[in-house]
Amino acid sequence: MPYNAPSPLEVKVLTRRFGLPNSHMIETYLANDGYKAFEKALGMSQDDIINEVKASGLRGRGGAGFPTGMKWSFVPRQAPKPKYIVVNADESEPGTCKDRLLIEYDPHQLIEGCLIAGLAVGAQQGYIYIRGEYRYLIEHMDRALEEACARGYLGDNILGRGIKFHLATHSGAGAYECGEESALLESLEGKRGNPRIRPPFPAVAGCYQSPTILNNVETFCAVPPIILQGGAYFAGLGTPKNGGTRLFCLSGHVNKPGVYELPMGFNLLRMINEVGGGVRGGKKLKAVIPGGSSCPVLRADECDVAMDYDSVAAIKSMLGSGGVVVMDEDTDMVRAALRIMRFYAHESCGWCIPCREGTTWLRKLLQRLDEGHGTSSDIDLVNDLSKNMLGRTFCPLGDAAAMPTISFVEKFRDEFEAKIAKSARPAERLVTV
């Protein structure tokens, strides 16, 4: 197995079949509660299904944390247009590598989640949008879909019950922007992945301008356990308004990096020290990005926090997509900020000027600061530019670039100043950027 060993502190709900022999095959799935939630859902009304998901306190695992049951309830079920289910498997938020495992080890759980969502809103077609780099997963998922078809869980007459639901994979081709839901829908329609203006939200006008449920892989995977064991059970695993468990991806300077399923509200320091085996090389912790590169960085003294959406928001960061990036005392924070901005500048789709120009100029300024040619006013300019990007773009990419940058500058300004002071060539202030 190429991945990490499990931790005894994990609470395995979505990942409970990981590690079983042939966990990806339908026989293993069926022998371990597979498709039982769907059969249970067949006996429930659409409102019952949605209410169960609401009761679970499940919130979107892609990053925004919007309550899933509420999102589903926005779909106008009586509308004459066909309804669609779309799975966001475009996993590209730096620091995040969990959806990969959910598809690799338990693809049928995802299929079952889609089936139940389909029942809840009356959809007959779903698409799983998988990033192009995950080619092996696209083919892996296709095989699982074929298995499900052969066993009658997908098709025109599911389990002989007269229910129709088809599910297909769709390959991306390399674009972070397509992880944003409206850009993903554009890409699914064969266009450039530029975001759409919202409202209308995908629940009303999504795939092919039809009502659409669009959620992250992990969100759909949480649905079968919720239906099978009840929303209250799932909610009870987490903290108030933050139901269940979630997959945290530990990376960076930890002894045992890996993907771990932990209850919502698990303490971040415990996660690093007890699940992740502490900071590598016995070094001191300097900072943590709690939920993928778009989230404001936390100083070590801020890390005694419960990892749920509300607690992390209370300290002005985000739980995000579950990518916990750990940085030790020797980490060069200017370089880290620059690398993150290089990413956003590369991935900005160019649709909105504040993001396209903002990320490009921030990259240049941070490059200059990193190389030691910057000035104190450059640091202020980075902060000012970032703040002026906030809320001024169609999609959250502009914010995602600005928010961590502001946090790096405000929390680690001394490191930016130190690079300027260390520069051997203070006179070269006019280096072109």
Partner: protein
Amino acid sequence: MTFSPELEARFEKFLAKYPADRKRSAVIPMLIYAQDEVGSITQELIEEVARRTGVTPLQVDEVVGFYSMLHKKPQGRYHVQVCTNISCLLVGGEELWDKACRKLGIGHKQTTADGRISLEEVECMGACSWAPAVQVNYDFYHDVTPEQLDRLLDGLAAGKRPEDIAEVKKVSC
């Protein structure tokens, strides 16, 4: 334009996935799979995909320009992609990138003179907990050390399939 029977079968499957009046949805999957066979996105390929999906060549071309995995220039037989994004950066991704550039004598999006290896510094590829990560074509290599990269590149330069290098943790189902 003619393709292999396997690719033709794949195209047929792609076109069947979407509603009859939404063939345009197949543009990106068709392009990326065709590129693997053709070697790059040629004008002829753009026109063929446009014809089969009922859009204009310009509508296909603008898509090609948007997605980083679609390229009009042929890549090496082995396209080596090194991630240097934050999680990889912290554990040696930049060192791997520098090493690869020095060893091959080429840079970002360049190909060796014999056409065997091309190099690209890529953004996060979703292997953060097993960083630093390298991808060769579509195969992932996890927890790559500089020594392993050395051996991997030596193997590729000698025309050996990357599967031959057992020391590097590899994922491909």
